[in-house]
C-alpha cells in the first residue's frame, strides 16, 4: 500500500469549479421555473431532486432540504402519477436519512410499476447507508462496477469497501474511478478526492493526514465551494497547528449555514487564544445544530452527536442523537460512535445494549474484528465489559 503514490495522476481537466457551481445554480433555478410552469412535465421533479442533492452535498446548502419538502408537497398536491411521485418521495426521504419512509415509498413505486433498475439503484444506496446486507451488497456493487467500469459505478463500491475496512482495495477503486472518468464536470472527481481524503485521514486505522490533506486540497481545487472538504481539511490543519490555514479555509464558506464550519472555526480560534470569538462561533454552531436537528433529526443525528459529545458539551443530548442514528442507520461506525458516547457519560445500560446490537448486526463480519467494539465484545465475554 502506498497511498502517497500518484497523487498528481489520474485527474483530468474539468470545468472550473466556480463556473460549475454557477451553472449548477443556474440550471437548478431554471428547473424550478420549469416545474412551476408544468409540475407534471416528465423528468423535471426528478431533475430538481438531483440538483438539490448536489447543492447539499457540495455546497452544504441545507435549505435545499426545505425546498425538497416543498417539492414533495407540490407533487402530491398536483397529483403526479403514483410511480413518479413515489420515486421522488423515496429519493427525498433518503436524502433526509428517513430510510424507513424511503423504503415505503419504494415499495409504493414498485406497486405502481416502476422499473426495477430505478428501484434497485435507490434500494442499494439505502442499504449501503444503513450498513445492511453488506456481503450481498458488496457482490452487487462489484458486479455493477465490473460491468460499467465508470466513476458512477466505482465510487459507491469504493465507499462500501471503506465502510468494510477494506482500505487498500477502496483506494484502488477510487483511483480507478478517477482514471476512467471521461466527463468534464468537476463535481464527481471532487467527490472521489474527498472520499480518498476521508479514507486516509479518518477511516484507515493509521491515519496519514498528509495524504488526506493532499486529497482534500485536490477536492477543493476542483470545487472551491466544496464545504465538507474544507471542513475536513481544516480539521487536519488544526491538528497540525495550521490554524491560520484552517481559518482561511473556513471563512469563505461561513455563510453556507453548515454548523460544522463554525464549529471547526471555533476550534481554530480557541487554539489561537481567541476565546471570545471562538465562543461566539460555538454558540452559532450550537444554534444551527439545534435548528437542523429539530427540523431534520435523522439527517443530522450523527454530526449532531459528534458535536454535542465534543465542543457542544452536552453528552446526554449527544447520546440521544447517537442512539437515534444507530437505530436509523445501524452501520458499524454508528454503533462505535454511540457506544463511545454511552461509555463517556457512564450509561452502562445503553452501552451494553448498543454493544449487543452491534454484535447482532456486525459480529460475524471481518470489519468488526478491527473495530473498537471488538475489544469491548471480548471484555464482555470475559465479564469485564461496560455492560
Amino acid at each position: 500500500m502506498n497511498p502517497a503514490a500518484d497523487l498528481t495522476e489520474g485527474c483530468r481537466p474539468t470545468t472550473d469549479g466556480e463556473i460549475a457551481v454557477i451553472n449548477l445554480q443556474s440550471a437548478r433555478q431554471r428547473a424550478w421555473s420549469r416545474f412551476s410552469d408544468d409540475p407534471h412535465r416528465p423528468g423535471v421533479a426528478e431533475l430538481i431532486v438531483e440538483q438539490e442533492s448536489q447543492v447539499i452535498q457540495f455546497l452544504s446548502d441545507f435549505n435545499a432540504l426545505d425546498r425538497l419538502e416543498m417539492l414533495v408537497t407540490q407533487i402530491v398536491q398536483v397529483g403526479l402519477p403514483p410511480m413518479r411521485s413515489a420515486l421522488v418521495q423515496a429519493q427525498v426521504a433518503a436524502i433526509g436519512h428517513r430510510f424507513d419512509a424511503a423504503r415505503r415509498h419504494l415499495a409504493a413505486a414498485d406497486d405502481a410499476g416502476a422499473k426495477p433498475d430505478l428501484i434497485n439503484r435507490l434500494a442499494l444506496s439505502i442499504d449501503q447507508a444503513c450498513g445492511l446486507r453488506a456481503d450481498a451488497l458488496l457482490d452487487t456493487r462489484r458486479r455493477i462496477a465490473a460491468e460499467a467500469d465508470s466513476l458512477e459505478a466505482l465510487l459507491p463500491l469504493g465507499a462500501l469497501l471503506m465502510d468494510l475496512n477494506e482500505f487498500d482495495e477502496a483506494d484502488q477503486v477510487f483511483r480507478r474511478a478517477l482514471g476512467v472518468y471521461s466527463d468534464v464536470s468537476p463535481f464527481a472527481v471532487a467527490q472521489v478526492c474527498f472520499q480518498l481524503g476521508v479514507l486516509w485521514g479518518e477511516a484507515a486505522p493509521d491515519p496519514q493526514t498528509h495524504v488526506a490533506a493532499q486529497w482534500y486540497r485536490k477536492a477543493i481545487g476542483y470545487v472551491p465551494a466544496y464545504t465538507k472538504a474544507r471542513v475536513h481539511f481544516a480539521e487536519i490543519c488544526c491538528s497540525c497547528g495550521g490554524l491560520g490555514e484552517a481559518e482561511a479555509l473556513l471563512m469563505p464558506v461561513i455563510g453556507t449555514g453548515d454548523p460544522e464550519v463554525r464549529w471547526r472555526l471555533a476550534h481554530a480560534m480557541l487554539e489561537k487564544g481567541n476565546t471570545a470569538d471562538a465562543q461566539e462561533q460555538l454558540q452559532a454552531a450550537r444554534r444551527r445544530f439545534e435548528e437542523l436537528l429539530q427540523r431534520y433529526p435523522l439527517a443530522f443525528a450523527d454530526h449532531g452527536a459528534e458535536f454535542f459529545a465534543g465542543s457542544g458539551n452536552d453528552p446526554c443530548q449527544a447520546l440521544d442523537h447517537a442512539r437515534r442514528n444507530a437505530a436509523n442507520r445501524p452501520t458499524l461506525w454508528a454503533f462505535e460512535l454511540a457506544h463511545e458516547i454511552a461509555v463517556s457519560v457512564g450509561d452502562a445500560t445503553a452501552a451494553s445494549a448498543l454493544l449487543a446490537d452491534a454484535i447482532a448486526h456486525w459480529g460475524d463480519s471481518t470489519a468488526f474484528q478491527s473495530s473498537s467494539l471488538s475489544g469491548e465484545s471480548a471484555k464482555r465475554s470475559e465479564g469485564l465489559g461496560t455492560g
Binding site: 489520474g10 483530468r12 481537466p13 474539468t14 470545468t15 472550473d16 466556480e18 463556473i19 460549475a20 454557477i22 451553472n23 445554480q25 443556474s26 440550471a27 437548478r28 433555478q29 431554471r30 424550478w32 421555473s33 420549469r34 410552469d37 412535465r41 438531483e50 442533492s53 448536489q54 452535498q57 433518503a94 439503484r121 442499494l124 444506496s125 449501503q128 447507508a129 458512477e152 459505478a153 465510487l155 459507491p156 465507499a159 465502510d163 480507478r176 482514471g179 476512467v180 472518468y181 471521461s182 466527463d183 468534464v184 464536470s185 463535481f187 464527481a188 467527490q191 474527498f194 472520499q195 476521508v198 479518518e202 465538507k228 475536513h232 480539521e235 450523527d302 454530526h303 459528534e306 461506525w333
Partner: protein, 500 residues
C-alpha cells in the same frame, strides 16, 4: 466524522451538452455565411461556458454521388474548423458579475477574443470574421410529444441556451469557386485531456442535422430496441465506424418506418426507407452557399436528391425554422400533408441583426407564502375569497369593474400606489382564485393564486405569485411582492388565530 455516498449519480456538465447547430446566409450581409452552435439546455440566466471544452464547428466540402434512391452526400477530407475556448471567470468590478472571455481560433490560425454576453461580439480587422458568444433565448420549438406524436405546447418555452455565433465572408473562407455545397457539424471536445486508463480522448457530444439522436436513433414511440445514442456520440463526425454503420442503419430504418406508420399509411416503401436512412446516417447539416437559405429550405437538398431532381434552395438551417414540423411531416407522410406541433414558433423569433438570436428569457420568479389558521376553511374563505374583498392591511381602498372572470380590481395602497388586477379563475368549491396583474407591479407574466385548504382541523392559506421581472432586478420585484403577501397573511393571524 463520517460521510457516506448516497448512491451513484451521473453528474455530467450541462454546459458541454450541445443542443443545436445552424448554418444560414447572414441576414445583414448576403455575402456572408453564419454558423452557430448552442450548448447547455435550459440554461439559467447566470450560465457560463465550460473552460474545459473546445467548442468546435467543422465544415467540409460535399459532393453528391448518385441520384434518386442511390443519392449520397460524400465529404472531402479537408476541414475548415472554428474552435472556441473559454477561460475561467475574471473578477468583476465591485458588485458586478464576474466576466468570462473566449477565444475563437479561425481556419487560418487567427484568433478572435470575445467577451461572453457582449452583443457586439468581436471582428477581424478586415471584416472577414465576426464572432459572438453568450446567452440567448432557445430558438428551438419542441411542440410535440414524441412518444404519441401529438401536438404539445413548446416544451422549451422560456428556455435559454449558450450560443457561439460565427459569421464569415463566404467567398474568402469557403472559396465557392471549388464547389458551393458544404456539410457542417459541431462538437464539444474535452480540452487537452488524456485519460490515464483507456487513453481515449472522447468527445462529449456532436451534432449534425437536428434530432439525429433523440428522434431518429431513439424513437420514444418504439417498444424495446437498443438505445444506441451513447455509441453514436462516440463516433467521429464525418467518419462513422464502418463496422457500426449496419447497426445504426438498422436502427434508423426501424425508427423511420415507425414514424411513417404513425398515421396508419405507408408512404415510405422499403427502398425509399433504405435510401433516406443512408442519407441520415451521413449526419451533417448540408448547405449550399450559392442558393437561398430560408426558413423553408431545411432538408430541401436531401429531399430533392432522393427524389431525383436538382435542388433549388441552400438547405441549411435558419434560426426560425421549425425543424420538428419539417421532420415529422417528411417522416410520417413524406410531405403529403403539413404536420404542425402545438405551437409553430419558439419562445422568441430570431432577429435580422447580429448575432441573430433573440435576447435571453428572464427567469420566472416565484413568491409563495402560507399561514395556518385556527378556523375552518369556509370561514377564512368568506373573508378573503371575494375578489374585491377589503381585508388587506396595505390596501386603502379597492374598486371592482365588471363581473365574473375578467373583472378588474383597482387597488389603492396606503402609500398611494395604484395596482390593477384581473380575475382569471374563481373556484369557490376549491376555495381558490387566480388573477393577473394589469399594471402597478413592474413585472410581466404575473399570475397570482390565493387558496384556502383544510389542514387537519384548521386552515392553510397559500398565496403564491409567479412573474417575470420587468426592467427591475428580480430581487426588487420579489421584495415588493413578498411584502404584499406577507402583510396580507400576517393580518389574518389575529383575526383567526395562528396554528402552530
Amino acid at each position: 466524522m463520517t460521510d457516506h455516498v448516497d448512491g451513484p449519480r451521473q453528474i455530467g456538465d450541462p454546459s458541454a451538452d450541445l443542443t443545436d447547430l445552424f448554418a444560414f446566409t447572414s441576414p445583414e450581409n448576403p455575402e456572408h455565411t453564419v454558423v452557430a452552435l448552442c450548448v447547455f439546455p435550459s440554461a439559467g440566466s447566470s450560465a457560463m461556458f465550460s473552460n474545459a471544452v473546445d467548442h468546435v464547428i467543422a465544415i467540409r466540402r460535399v459532393n453528391i454521388v448518385g441520384t434518386g434512391y442511390a443519392g449520397r452526400f460524400k465529404t472531402d477530407e479537408q476541414e475548415i474548423r472554428f474552435t472556441s475556448k473559454f477561460g475561467t471567470l475574471e473578477p468583476a468590478p465591485a458588485g458586478g458579475k464576474p466576466a468570462q472571455k473566449g477565444t475563437c481560433t479561425l481556419p487560418r490560425g487567427q484568433a478572435l477574443t470575445v467577451l461572453v454576453h457582449d452583443e457586439s461580439g468581436a471582428s477581424t480587422a478586415d471584416g472577414t470574421f465576426r464572432v459572438f458568444a453568450g446567452l440567448w433565448s432557445d430558438p428551438f420549438c419542441l411542440a410535440w410529444f414524441g412518444k404519441t406524436l401529438t401536438p404539445a405546447p413548446n416544451l422549451l418555452q422560456h428556455d435559454n441556451v449558450l450560443c457561439v455565433v460565427i459569421e464569415f465572408d463566404t467567398r474568402r473562407v469557403l472559396d465557392p469557386s471549388k464547389g458551393t455545397l458544404f456539410g457542417v457539424i459541431a462538437e464539444t471536445v474535452p480540452v487537452g485531456s488524456t485519460n490515464p486508463i483507456n487513453k481515449l480522448l472522447p468527445r462529449i457530444d456532436w451534432v449534425g442535422r437536428p434530432e439525429q439522436t433523440n428522434m431518429r436513433l431513439y424513437n420514444a414511440g418504439m417498444e424495446g430496441g437498443d438505445d444506441v445514442r451513447d455509441l453514436w456520440n462516440e463516433q467521429i463526425p464525418f467518419a462513422i465506424d464502418d463496422t457500426l454503420r449496419p447497426a445504426f442503419l438498422k436502427q434508423l430504418e426501424a425508427s423511420l418506418h415507425n414514424y411513417d406508420m404513425r398515421d396508419g399509411r405507408e408512404d415510405w416503401p422499403p427502398d425509399a426507407l433504405a435510401a433516406v436512412s443512408e442519407v441520415f446516417l451521413d449526419d451533417f447539416l448540408v448547405f449550399d452557399v450559392s442558393k437561398p437559405i430560408t426558413d423553408a429550405s431545411y432538408l430541401e437538398i436531401e429531399r430533392s436528391v432522393l427524389e431525383g431532381h436538382a435542388y433549388s434552395t441552400g438547405g441549411g438551417r435558419t434560426v426560425n425554422v421549425n425543424v420538428m414540423d419539417v421532420m415529422f411531416t417528411w417522416a410520417v407522410n413524406r410531405g403529403r400533408e403539413q404536420l404542425r406541433g402545438g405551437v409553430t414558433v419558439a419562445t422568441k423569433p430570431g432577429t435580422n441583426r447580429f448575432p441573430y438570436f433573440a435576447t435571453p428569457n428572464t427567469e420566472l420568479q416565484i413568491v409563495s407564502e402560507t399561514v395556518d389558521l385556527l378556523a375552518a376553511p369556509g370561514e377564512v374563505w368568506s373573508l378573503i375569497g371575494p375578489f374585491g374583498g377589503a381585508w388587506h392591511p396595505l390596501v386603502a381602498d379597492i374598486r371592482l369593474t365588471g363581473t365574473g372572470i375578467g373583472q378588474l380590481r383597482t387597488i389603492r395602497t396606503i402609500d398611494g400606489k395604484r395596482i390593477i388586477e384581473r380575475l382569471e379563475e374563481m373556484d369557490d368549491a376549491q376555495r381558490l382564485y387566480r388573477y393577473t396583474n394589469v399594471s402597478g407591479i413592474p413585472a410581466s407574466n404575473y399570475l397570482g393564486t390565493l387558496s384556502v385548504r383544510p389542514a387537519g382541523s384548521v386552515s392553510s392559506v397559500e398565496w403564491r405569485v409567479q412573474f417575470l421581472a420587468d426592467n427591475q432586478p428580480d430581487f426588487i420585484v420579489k421584495v415588493i411582492v413578498s411584502t404584499l403577501l406577507k402583510a396580507g397573511l400576517e393580518s389574518l393571524k389575529p383575526r383567526f388565530g395562528a396554528a402552530k
